[in-house]
Amino acid sequence: MPYLPTPQAYLEQSALLLQAYPDAVRAIHESDESGCKPTSTKYLMIIPRITTKYTFPASKPKTQKATTQPQPESQTTAPPTEEKPRIATLTLKTFHAGSGICLKYRTNKGAEVGRLITSLGKLAAGADVEALGLGGAGAVPAGAGAGDAEMVDAPPSLIPAGAGEGGNEGPGKGGKGKKKGGKGRR
């Protein structure tokens, strides 16, 4: 399962995914055996869904160690106090059941939460890559640091093409194909 390196990359790809599949509902007409008389219509919901998971790592069985090593007289065994505060992780996942496309981003930085949720709101409102304001805003990716090099490549190829209405689907598919490669079709 692929994780995208930066929040910008994740949000961009998610925006493209949401744009690429606006046909959220697919009607399935069920016919009787002869095939000429539709008996019922089912609606298959194939909407991209975004899940944000805030989770703590599973606890390790430290108590077992304590019991297997009998040190009755020494008081040095104080694992509860030595325990580091467990750091939670935040995993964002955009999943499109229709195509099986799954985009993920994982972070443990508390500073990114507000920005990410706000961006998810923009995605929910149907924002495209440009409206997310990721390409131009230099201040936004400052916290991400590591992924800057890649971001330089991504926006120029995606934004100009996405500007035209007719070209919307093309760059969406192209962009995804380039980035995903082996993701969609495992």
Binding site: T51, F56, A58, I87, A88, T107, G110, V113, R115, T118
Partner: protein, 134 residues
């Protein structure tokens, strides 16, 4: 417990979500799942921007654990299944205000994540500067 699928209004949703996040953070275990997806009525496909369905859950299940929940009488027991499941619907015109608040609640509630560390960041910056020299 209220009906499982009743949508809360925003006020109730945020109150419950704050509680859910803070209890999870305090315990430092468990998860909170937040999902969002367009709420589309198959009968009315005309609407341009659909309402958004927001869900929050702690990931527990209310289904019986098949391994240990059936007693001698064959009645399944659900002792430790207090699943938390919240949902609310956001209309398109409320999206901006909702998400502003949503972001605040999440920021305030997800205290288990790493805090911003100025010192560390500076050290990294210096290290990054040294690398090209070498």
């Amino acid at each position: 417990m209220p009906a499982a699928h009743a949508h809360l209004n925003h006020e109730e949703f945020f109150t419950s979500l704050t509680t859910l996040l803070s209890t999870t953070s305090q315990k430092a275990r468990g998860s909170v799942y937040l999902t969002q997806k367009p709420l589309i009525d198959p009968q009315q496909q005309d609407q341009q921007i659909p309402a958004i369905l927001i869900r929050a859950t702690d990931g527990n299940t209310s289904a019986a654990n098949p391994k240990n929940t059936i007693d001698k009488k064959g009645i399944s027991k659900n002792k430790n299944t207090n699943k938390v499941k919240l949902s609310t619907v956001v209309n398109p015109d409320e999206l901006e205000a909702f998400y502003a608040r949503y972001a605040e609640v999440c920021k305030a509630g997800m205290t288990g994540l790493k805090k911003r560390d100025r010192k560390k960041k500076n050290a990294k910056g210096k290290a990054g500067g040294k690398v090209p020299k070498l």
